[in-house]
């Protein structure tokens, strides 16, 4: 009996050691970046670099563009995917496999290749607007938004609920508004957050289409002011964290 | 293919197992005679599964011994105990076919491929799944999976067969079918078996003896008829079968008045003084019902509901005195009565088990 207990202890300790080592690997670069960004000219530590963030004039423009792109991407994504996924769960059931298949295709085309195609196929007046990026971001997000919405509706067996509601006399409008939408909230939240995280970090397409979004701007800044760039990176990482923590909160509350 | 062999006895001695502050098993003593099937019956948390897992070796007791066939195996690892176990569900290896699952124990014992698949096929025939040899678990129903699990457990010719609520996850009809098959197989093979369940009907139907457990203790271990007729504790009485709890008072000469008749005290409580209040436990099948206008002895009441259960019908009577009484009658007889009828209820046995009421108040009556 003692032998069994000792073996179980050893197993347990090994597990924690591995977890710790992996944790170390992920925390050290962040620590390094934090340390670097907090180091000031005269070798002391301070928030100079972070203060600089707010003193940089381009920041406002860049953030505005990224924010705009985020909003458009999310709106587009939801506008296209929510009705579509609802439809394939409610009445167009036999198209579900097809829609699923099409939705995950963006995973097969690397963004660097997609942008190559976009640059060569889009009309020039479209290329002149940064909003085109948002349209492409919605495409990049498609596999994830489909999955989030699809999972949300599947778990619900929406067809039965809708049938019950219709049986009780509800109109289609009522059904969509009062039954489908509220239950889809968790899926919509998830899909929206994933899209936002994608847009905030997307570099490849934005830089190759020569737009000044937040991620591309960090890169440009990096060429002249490393401290500022690192400070920005740390800040954006922290922001992504907050975002996903909020997502998991929203998720949990729905489940309760 | 015969598998009868010398059956093994099993002894659990003073087994104790605690989880933190919870006492799962409190000095359990249990002996299984060779070839016997004992069912451990009780609500969840009573310790029955803990006892089974200790016997299997999947858990270690804090103190006590486990003796199988005269040998102390308390410290023998689970993989070397030569016991076959059937779990409640999900225990078949999903990547192996039914035949490969059954043959697994043999493979581990280095039985050759041809030989072990042959034996697996025979065992699957035995449980009625000869055709499903090459099916995977996910393509089988719950009942079929459990049969495969059973075949797999006995393939290794174990000394003891352990069943952990094997039927609980199945549909009612499959459950009773499989229950009988397990019993048939167990008798044929002659293997000492411990069967854990929370379903008292199941336990009573197949076991040689039933052990009722509560909070880590074995309250009573008896053959099913004895358990049914002579429950040793109030808990056992309430757990096994249905009972009417009719308050009554002990009278001189070991008599209690129940439903208009004087019944002898069968057992159930230690000597109770005259005048003590008690519950008489009367089985629904021990009550007769007659029309109110007939001149029979008994207590008056009205029929509240009737439930047709097939060969019997259960009537709920509300006595004029206020009590509810459950009565099971053959359906042909119960046909006469409908809700609202006025009737007279009478006890049909001569003896009854009585229990102390929760708070015994000995009054001078």
């Amino acid at each position: 009996m003692a032998a069994v207990v000792k073996q179980r202890r050893k197993y347990h300790i090994t597990a924690w050691v591995i977890v710790f080592l992996v944790f170390l690997y992920f925390i050290l670069p962040i620590a390094g970046a934090a340390q670097f960004s907090l180091r000031e000219r005269d070798d002391t530590y301070g928030l100079d670099a972070y203060r600089m963030i707010f003193q940089t004039p381009e920041l406002a423009e860049v953030l505005k563009l990224t924010l705009r792109l985020t909003l458009i991407s999310v709106a587009l994504s939801m506008a296209i995917m929510v009705p579509t996924v609802t439809l394939v769960h409610l009445s167009a059931k036999k198209y579900r496999r097809l829609v699923e298949f099409v939705s995950i295709q963006p995973l097969v085309i690397p963004p660097v290749v997609l942008v190559l195609g976009v640059v060569n196929v889009m009309p020039t007046n479209w290329m002149g607007s940064p909003d085109l990026l948002a349209f492409e971001y919605a495409v990049l997000a498609m596999p994830f938004t489909f999955r989030a919405l699809d999972a949300g509706l599947t778990n619900l067996d929406i067809k039965t609920i809708v049938d019950a509601a219709r049986g009780l006399g509800a109109s289609w409008f009522t059904v969509l508004l009062r039954i489908v939408a509220p239950n889809l909230k968790s899926g919509i939240f998830g899909a929206a957050f994933l899209t936002i995280a994608l847009v905030l970090g997307e570099f490849t397409m934005a830089s190759l289409m020569l737009w000044n979004t937040f991620p591309t701007w960090i890169a440009t800044v990096g060429q002249s002011d490393a401290s500022l760039s690192v400070a920005l990176s740390v800040a954006s990482l922290a922001f992504a964290w907050v975002l996903l923590v909020l997502l998991s909160f929203a998720d949990r509350r729905r489940k309760a | 293919m015969t598998m009868t062999r010398n059956s093994t006895s099993v002894e659990l001695r003073n087994l104790r197992r605690t989880f933190g502050s919870v006492v799962a098993l409190d000095n359990l003593n249990l002996t299984l005679n060779p070839g016997e099937l004992i069912a451990l019956l009780g609500p969840s948390g009573c310790g029955k599964t803990t006892a089974l897992r200790l016997l299997a070796g999947l858990d270690q007791p804090d103190s006590g011994e486990i003796v199988v066939g005269g040998k102390d195996i308390t410290h023998v690892p689970a993989s070397k105990r030569n016991m076959g176990m059937v779990f409640q569900s999900y225990s078949l290896f999903p990547n192996l076919t039914a035949a490969q699952n059954v043959a697994f124990g043999l493979r581990v014992r280095r039985v050759g491929r041809v030989e072990r698949l042959k034996r697996a096929a025979e065992l699957l025939e035995l449980v009625g799944l000869g055709e499903q040899r090459d099916r995977y678990p996910h393509a089988m129903s719950g009942g079929q999976q459990q049969r495969v699990a059973l075949a797999r457990a006995i393939a290794i010719q174990p000394d003891v067969l352990l069943l952990d609520e094997p039927l609980s996850a199945l549909d009612a009809m499959v459950r009773s079918q499989l229950r009988d098959e397990i019993r048939r197989l167990q008798i044929e093979v002659g293997i000492t078996t411990l069967f854990v369940t929370h379903d008292q009907e199941e336990a009573m139907a197949i076991a040689d003896r039933v052990g009722v457990m509560r909070s880590g203790n074995l309250e009573q271990l008896d053959a099913p008829p004895s358990l049914y007729a002579r429950p040793a504790t109030p808990f056992v009485a309430s757990f096994v079968g249905t009972n009417n709890n009719l308050p009554t008072i002990v009278e001189a000469g070991g008599i209690v008045q129940v439903l208009g008749r004087n019944l002898g005290i069968a057992a159930g409580s230690d000597e109770l003084p005259v005048g003590a209040t008690a519950n008489a436990l009367l089985r629904p099948e021990s009550v007769s019902v007659a029309r109110a206008d007939s001149a029979t002895a008994g207590l008056r009441g009205t029929v509240s509901t009737t439930s047709f259960l097939g060969s019997t019908t259960r009537l709920v009577l509300k006595l004029d005195a206020g009590q509810d009484v459950l009565v099971d009658l053959p359906s042909t007889v119960a046909r006469e009565f409908a809700a609202g009828d006025e009737v007279i209820a009478c006890a049909t046995t001569n003896e009854v088990v009585i229990q102390h009421q929760e708070r015994v108040v000995i009054e001078d009556v």
């Binding site: 690997y25 390094g32 960004s37 167009a92 995973l107 660097v112 890169a219 996903l244 | 192996l96």
Partner: protein, 280 residues
């Protein structure tokens, strides 16, 4: 009537996908097989696997394979260890953290590693204090091995995300039943545990492979052309480094990338389907 309404309802989705995804993709594939006059030719495709481009493919495949292999192994160990601790809070945190880290890349990631492993990096300094000088030889963060180390930062989390559900689907009944039937730990993993996990792990490997192969931002941030990689080649061709009569070379390279990633993704999909069937 209903059918018509369904088709109309799904039209926006298909139209949108066709315009913003289908058209660019088709453009790449078609132009890969055309010269700049629009005539069909295999010249671009042939050129795309020769000389420096051939090296690019080789390096890209090597990097993808190496980071997928190491990511799979370390990620698996990490996920397994995580579950072995039995700590539910840790599990929850890891889920969120993995989501964030799987999406890090580009300049932020590169700078983080420079700050850690660069010549004056935090870890470099720490190791120096222990007497280890990682720059003693000719090692550089901006080489192949450096890229490999940095790629793990998003590969490991991706692996963890993908493999945790599969690991959690392992039922303890299987292990107990095997033990009860007499199997040792080794025998269990050999006959039951291993085979069951093979499909999810293989699938995860392919996912990591495709992910690393397609990565652009991180590679660009760290190497600036010192290592030939296909995404970087495409990037530089897009940025104006056009070779006179090989304007469509970029498309051929893109086509090559599509083929490789597509194969990886489709095999991944197949393994997931198979695994899902067993683990119902």
């Amino acid at each position: 009537m209903r059918k018509f309404r369904d088709v109309v309802g799904l039209f926006p989705f298909f139209a949108y996908t066709a315009v913003f995804f289908g058209a660019p993709t088709v453009m790449v594939i078609v132009k890969a097989f055309q010269d700049q006059n629009g005539h069909w030719t295999l010249a671009n495709v042939v050129e795309s696997v020769q000389d420096v481009y051939f090296d690019s493919f080789v390096e890209s495949l090597k990097l993808a394979f190496a980071s997928a292999a190491s990511g799979t192994i370390i990620g698996f160990a990490g996920a397994y260890a995580l579950l072995a601790t039995g700590n539910a809070w840790l599990r929850k945190i890891t889920q969120t953290a993995a989501g964030v880290f799987a999406n890090t890349g580009g300049i932020p990631l590169a700078f983080m590693f420079i700050a850690a492993l660069g010549t004056y990096g935090l870890v470099t300094q720490m190791l120096l204090k222990l007497g280890i000088d990682i720059y003693a030889g000719s090692w550089t963060l901006f080489g192949f091995s450096g890229l490999l180390i940095v790629y793990l930062y998003f590969q490991i989390p991706l692996m963890i995300i993908v493999i945790l559900p599969a690991l959690e689907a392992q039922r303890k009944e299987w292990r107990e039943a095997a033990t009860n039937l007499g199997a040792t730990t080794r025998q269990y993993w050999l006959h039951v545990g291993g085979p069951i996990l093979f499909a999810p792990v293989a699938g995860a490997f392919l996912l990591l492979f495709a992910n690393a192969f397609a990565a652009y931002a991180t590679a660009r941030a760290l190497t600036s052309g010192t290592i030939p990689l296909v995404p970087l080649q495409i990037g530089s061709l897009l940025s104006g480094n056009v070779i006179a009569d090989r304007a469509n070379l970029g498309f051929a390279l893109g086509f090559g990338m599509i083929v490789i990633v597509a194969i990886a993704m489709y095999v991944y999909n197949a393994t997931q389907k198979r695994a899902a069937k067993w683990l119902q």
